[in-house]
């Protein structure tokens, strides 16, 4: 029997490779095979979660260990793998290259297990880099112009991976063992600072924070919805924020300046991401920008440096993965039925897809932080963290607090827009003509499970989420005096019952149906209906919204775009030197030799 930790890495990798071997004709079989494998993996991870085995090592590089932090990531990664592969059974049934999809899914599960378990930084880097491969395949499988998005993702992720290597190399100067254990390197000189920044950039690129976030919206536009719900919305967050947690907990001893840096990046990411999301016309891009904005909360939470804030950030990572996947998948179900992702042509399916609508509303409320759902609990902890930081003096924290609070209001606004355009409001022409119904049990079940998780983790925040998942993973967390939502939830429930009693007294059950009243008009044509896309046009020109939105649209904030321009400019400079005339090259050679001679001059003579 192999060591169980090694199994969690090797089993999905092997299964994934096997998946690639399935011929296109057997795509349904490959799907079933993948669901079986992910189910097995989920059961296995839960067992690992319940009784953690001892570590496993081979040589000096391979050292696997399961601690409180990595086991949260492991079990949730397996959960997402299972749900998404189940969803894809129907959701992707019409697509080609399904074996590749399932293969990549399993490969990325194996890769992320590797990242979560390895204790040596170089092994971690290998798995981390390996995760880029399935991502690239996922993007490549999509529809339309996938090349650009794939290149962008590859350059941003690959580039930051290289930076991470540099960071690790610099780290080895001060701590040659490179074991995650307990390095706690103080940020004292410039080498540690550069190492810290390099590692942070790698995290930002993977999780999607300003300024290396742009691959997520580009990917969301073309890739399949389950792929987007799996990688950037769930798995990359788990893995990326896991590394950030490691950086904050054990790799470095964070100083005030580095915390300020994290808080700044976090707050900017929250606001810019959500403002960009507010005005999007394509639901996938809208959700992608929210995926970015939510990362801001996590980074902010880690930036606070207080135990509550960091625990909140970790919890927010789980929550975000839950509700963001639920949102992607429920909107994906609508798209599956309607065949378009353009908000202007969607709408009014709420009556025919009530389960999906319910799951969507729960997860939308969760992402906007409506109590007593899980998003509120984690945001609350992050705010507490910011206040803890404030108690140490200084007044910058008030900016972080206002940015985070305001960002969550903006989030609510953009999800209301989405709720109206997708589910409520008047039906669009395609909805009226087509017969829309729920998207089948294999697609509805994962969405509902995720929504129930959002609800349950919110209400049972204290006994379940904090005690079992988060508490053990955060060193020095005092779990007392925190928000206890059980009573509040019961009271809210009592209030709803109270309202229902009022309804009973008023005999609402005998309600009569009548035409909507539109000022006496005869009923509007489907072309005249109010879609939600224009909702915020009236405020788009108000500063500083307009400014940020235009900057985002013209890609002024885009490091990828900037970097590309810069390197092309550099290349064109070199191009001019390459004119192809022999004497010119000889002259350059000679000049180089002379330079060398001068530089080394003294010693040669």
């Amino acid at each position: 029997m192999m060591n169980p930790l090694l199994m969690t890495i090797l089993f999905p990798l092997a299964a994934g490779l096997l998946c690639f071997l399935f011929p296109e004709r057997l795509k349904r079989i490959s799907g079933l095979f993948a669901v079986l494998c992910t189910t097995a993996l989920l059961v296995f991870s839960i067992r690992l979660f319940l009784n953690a085995p001892s570590g496993w090592s081979e040589g000096s590089f391979l050292y696997l260990k399961l601690d409180a932090l990595s086991r949260i990531g492991l079990v949730f990664a397996a959960l997402f793998g299972f749900l998404i592969s189940l969803y894809a059974l129907t959701g992707m049934s019409g697509e080609s290259s399904l074996p590749t999809f399932y293969g990549s899914l399993l490969l990325s599960l194996g890769g992320s297990a590797g990242v979560l378990l390895s204790q040596h930084l170089l092994t971690l880097l290998v798995f981390w880099g390996f995760l880029g491969l399935p991502l690239y395949l996922f993007i490549h499988m999509g529809k339309g112009d996938t090349g650009q998005a794939a290149t962008e993702a590859l350059i941003l992720i690959g580039g930051t991976d290289a930076l991470m290597l540099l960071g690790i190399a610099l780290l080895s100067l001060s701590s040659p063992a490179l074991m995650l254990g307990n390095m706690r390197i103080p940020l004292s000189d410039w080498t540690t600072w550069v190492a810290f920044l390099c590692l942070c950039l790698a995290v930002f690129a993977k999780a999607g924070a300003i300024p290396v976030h742009t691959w997520i919206p580009s990917m969301a536009r073309t890739a399949h919805v389950p792929a987007t719900a799996f990688m950037p919305a769930a798995l990359d967050k788990l893995v990326g924020i896991y590394l950030l947690a490691r950086i904050c907990f054990s790799l470095f001893e964070l100083s005030g300046a580095s915390r300020f840096f994290l808080c700044l990046v976090g707050s900017l990411t929250i606001l810019i991401g959500v403002i960009m999301a507010l005005f999007q016309h394509d639901y996938r891009r809208l959700l992608a920008f929210h995926a970015i904005s939510q990362v801001g909360y996590m980074i902010l939470g880690f930036g606070t440096g207080s135990a509550v804030g960091m625990a909140g950030a970790l919890f927010h990572m789980l929550n975000n993965a839950l509700y963001k996947s639920a949102l992607f998948l429920s909107c994906g179900s609508v798209e599956y039925r309607l065949g378009t992702s353009d908000l202007d042509r969607m709408g009014g399916v709420g009556r025919s897809m009530p389960l999906t609508l319910g799951a969507f509303l729960v997860s939308a409320a969760a992402i906007s932080g409506i109590p007593p759902l899980n998003g509120f609990a984690s945001k609350w902890m992050i705010y507490q963290g910011v206040l803890d930081m404030g108690k140490q003096g200084g007044f910058v924290w008030i900016i972080w607090l206002v940015a985070a609070l305001f960002g969550s209001g903006l989030t609510l606004a953009s999800f209301m827009k989405l709720a109206h355009t997708l589910f409520l409001g008047a039906p669009s022409r395609s909805v009226e003509t087509g017969r829309i119904r729920e998207a089948g049990p294999a697609m509805t079940f994962p969405v509902l499970v995720l929504a129930v998780f959002c609800l349950a983790l919110g209400i049972l925040f204290y006994p379940v989420a904090l005690r079992i998942f988060i508490g053990p993973a955060v060193p020095g967390l005092k779990i007392s005096g925190l928000w206890q939502p059980v009573q509040a939830s019961w009271l809210l429930f009592a209030g709803i019952i109270l309202g229902a009693v009022l309804y009973l007294l008023g005999r609402v059950g005998r309600a009569r149906e009548a035409e909507p009243f539109i000022g006496g008009e005869e009923g509007l044509d489907a072309d005249e209906r109010v879609t939600g896309t224009e909702f915020y046009n009236t405020i788009r020109d108000i500063q500083p919204f307009g400014f940020i939105f235009r900057m985002g649209e013209t890609r002024l904030m885009d490091l990828y775009h900037f970097g590309g321009k810069l390197s092309f400019a550099f290349a064109s400079l070199l191009q001019r030197v390459h004119h192809g005339v022999l004497t010119g090259y000889v002259a350059w050679l000679l000049a180089g030799l002379i330079l060398l001679y001068i530089l080394l001059g003294g010693r040669l003579l």
Partner: protein, 308 residues
Amino acid sequence: MNALFSYLVFPGFLFTAGIGCVASWLDRKVTARVQWRVGPPFFQPVFDLAKLMVKETVIPRGCVRTLFLGAPLFGLAAVTLVSTLIWKILLNPETAFAGDLIVILYLLMIPGLSVIIGGFSSRNPIASLGASREMKLMLADELPFILAVSVPIIQAKGSISLGFILGYQETYGMILGTWSGALAFIAAILAMQAKLALVPFDMAEAETELMGGVMVEYSGPPLAVFKLTRIMMLFTLPMLLVALFMGGVRFSGFGILWSVLKFALLLVLVTLIRNTNPRLRIDQAVRFLWGPVAGIAAVAVVLAILGL
């Protein structure tokens, strides 16, 4: 059981609804007096609610029925919870827990949210437009309100608990008495006006152009629940400001009179603002709330940081 009693009877649902009805009557009476009219009788809000309760419910054809009828309930449940929380802390600051202010701020979003969801699900373009305005208004008032609320937080040494802020005011005098507190109070009143959807910020309902806007399709008991939520908000929000800026309430001797006076003053102020201003367009409202009002609040925050 105790919690359930305090939620449903005192200081929760029944109490808040009762005082809310008085507040609503005061609002209408003052409006009438401003316009040199006699105004409605004392029990008018109660009559209105009772009448709506006995009326028939009409549902727009083709709407999402559960959501259309369910949306008002969430608002009612949330506002009851908020008022219970605020009152429990006002009566007994020891019941406060860390971060309760954030819970209150977020719970206060739910009534607006329920109105929006209700408007969206009524399948009426007018309601959709009204709901989108309500949403934008919520966005607009959020920023100045958060900034204004952060002034008491800063003054109370970074504590975000309402109970602690009350205790701080007990020793150091009410926050309204400081320069930063006064400025923040002005901003908070204007943001509250928007949260209560009163003129000049009633563009979501806009009877003259949108025929009731978000609520155009509601009738009978669901409308009664919405109106009740409004009425309870009319009591809850001013009470929150009294707690944050004016040192809360006291229940002994002249304290009772003084507490009632604080609330009534705030309410009359709100009513006067609503009677002396025209309705703004939504973009004007957003500009106003993010511009001058948020500016005042930001100045207040800076002053609070400087310790003024």
